[in-house]
């Protein structure tokens, strides 16, 4: 990645003169992205459950250089100040380590991601099964390498499944970035910084329900349609990996052939 990093800014400039086809745009070889991936190819995904002994459930996910760890606690008694409720509550928190980002961060809570994680998960959890109590989901981004939120969401759903929290379905999430005219699946941090727009899709694969969709930047409807299709394809692949991880099978299935072009 570092070797080609220097040339990347000009490569991904969103100017209209950029490529019509992939081979034209970069001239000499088939290398399309800094890490040799194709446009619609994900980074190798790895999931592992049960990584934190103290938690009711936990999971670790690593997508290329994005590494996150999620612990689930509870269901436990809700905080005293909260009002009585017939259904359970979900409490989500996403934080970054100080060394997660290229520039040393504050290591503080990420409020926006916390609320997005909450929105993405609440629709998938059967909250009626733990009335009055709270399930805490704590996510820690160990290393931020792009597509942080989607990785956190997928990882959190795995941790919830590991904790034995009743869920309608696993939740998988993937983002695409709009770079020039291309849709780039599972963007890295570098690609994200040049993106013209992004689409984060959170999807329950076997129920075929979108629990969360966030779009930024300017998109036309056919592009949204295309982006959602690409995301759903990738999501169903991730769900296979997540399922085999939960079943204790070899979870280190590399996403080598995930080209959904």
């Amino acid at each position: 990645m570092a070797g080609k990093g220097g040339a990347t800014p000009s490569t991904y400039s969103p100017s209209p003169t950029t490529q019509k086809t992939k081979s034209l745009s970069f001239g000499n070889d088939d290398v399309l992205r800094p890490d040799d991936r194709e446009w619609h190819q994900c980074r190798p995904a790895f999931f592992q459950i049960g990584v934190v002994a103290a938690a009711a459930g936990s999971a670790y996910a690593d997508f290329g250089s994005t590494k996150v760890i999620v612990s689930v606690f509870g269901p436990r008694e809700s905080k005293k100040a909260m009002m009585y409720s017939d259904i359970g509550r979900l409490n989500c928190n996403v934080s970054y380590t100080t060394f997660a980002t290229p520039v040393r961060g504050q290591g503080s809570d990420h409020k926006e991601f916390s609320s997005m994680l909450h929105k993405a998960l609440e629709g998938a959890i059967i909250l009626e099964t733990f009335p009055k109590t709270t399930v805490d989901v704590f996510a820690l981004v160990l290393e931020s390498g792009g597509s942080d939120l989607p990785v956190v969401i997928s990882c959190a759903s795995l941790a919830l499944a590991d904790a034995g929290i009743m869920m309608y379905d696993l939740v998988t999430s993937v983002s695409v970035s709009f770079l020039g005219k291309n849709l780039v699946l599972d963007p890295t941090l570098e690609e994200e910084s040049y993106q013209d727009g992004s689409l984060i899709l959170t999807w329950m694969p076997s129920r075929n329900k979108v629990t969360q969709l966030t779009i930024t930047g300017e998109w036309s409807t056919p592009k949204i349609n295309e982006g959602m299709k690409i995301c759903m394809d990738a999501c169903s692949k991730f769900s296979q990996i997540m399922k085999s991880c939960l079943k204790g099978l070899d979870s280190a299935l590399e996403e080598e052939d995930s080209n959904v072009d």
């Binding site: 509870g74 809700s78 399930v135 590991d162 379905d169 939960l246």
Partner: protein, 201 residues
């Protein structure tokens, strides 16, 4: 179906709702009347209870499909469950207790319950004195009345088999129950008042 198909993860289809009933770890989606798994674990099919008095009903002819085996989340109190709790504080109108066990399972997280004055015993409710029923540190068996308020679950000991099952005297010895309302210290012979549970048959 292969060997692994017995293991299911949340969201996996277990069957049609017309063929199966959803048991533990499963749910029926109202959209397409399909039974899905909601937990990770082994898929098991329980045949319908043949001698059920209402088995003529279609409802009871369907086998139940459930998902068990993998760890479920920690037990949480629900109305009607019998709990073992440790009394933490005794006030004039209520006693608060930390729930330690639900049925035969210990809880993973702390849950607080309160026993109100009117729920201590079934008879002569108006003559109950909280301080003559419980002391901090007592182990009580109680039933969960309701989910209670935002703070605590409401517990009741208003049954013969419910109440204090183990208590220590001021001298530090475990006391022996001698009547419905009294326990005696084996060291000093001192008698203390409790709402004693009838243990055993």
């Amino acid at each position: 179906m292969g060997k692994d198909s017995q293991w299911v993860t949340p969201g996996e289809v277990l069957g049609k709702a017309s063929k199966f009933k959803a048991g533990r770890g499963a749910y029926v989606s109202p959209d397409n009347l399909t039974v899905y798994a909601s937990l990770t674990g082994l898929r098991r099919i329980l045949s319908p209870f043949p001698t059920h008095p209402t088995s003529w009903k279609f409802e009871f002819l369907r086998p139940t499909v459930e998902v068990t085996g993998h760890k479920a989340h920690g037990a949480i109190p629900e109305p009607g469950s019998i709990v073992i709790a440790r009394v933490t504080k005794v006030m004039a109108r209520m006693a608060s207790a930390d729930i330690m066990c639900l049925g035969t399972k210990s809880v993973r997280e702390k849950f607080t319950g309160i026993i109100r004055l009117q729920d201590v015993r079934a008879t002569e409710i108006d003559k109950v004195d909280m301080h003559m029923s419980f002391h901090p540190g007592d182990i009580v068996r109680a039933i969960v009345l309701s989910l209670g308020d935002a703070r605590a679950y409401y517990l009741s000991t208003a049954k013969n088999e419910l109440g204090v099952i183990s208590a220590q005297s001021t001298a530090g010895a475990t006391m022996v129950p001698i009547s419905w309302t009294e326990m005696q210290c084996p060291l000093t012979g001192q008698i203390e008042h409790r709402k004693v549970a009838k243990v055993g048959q």
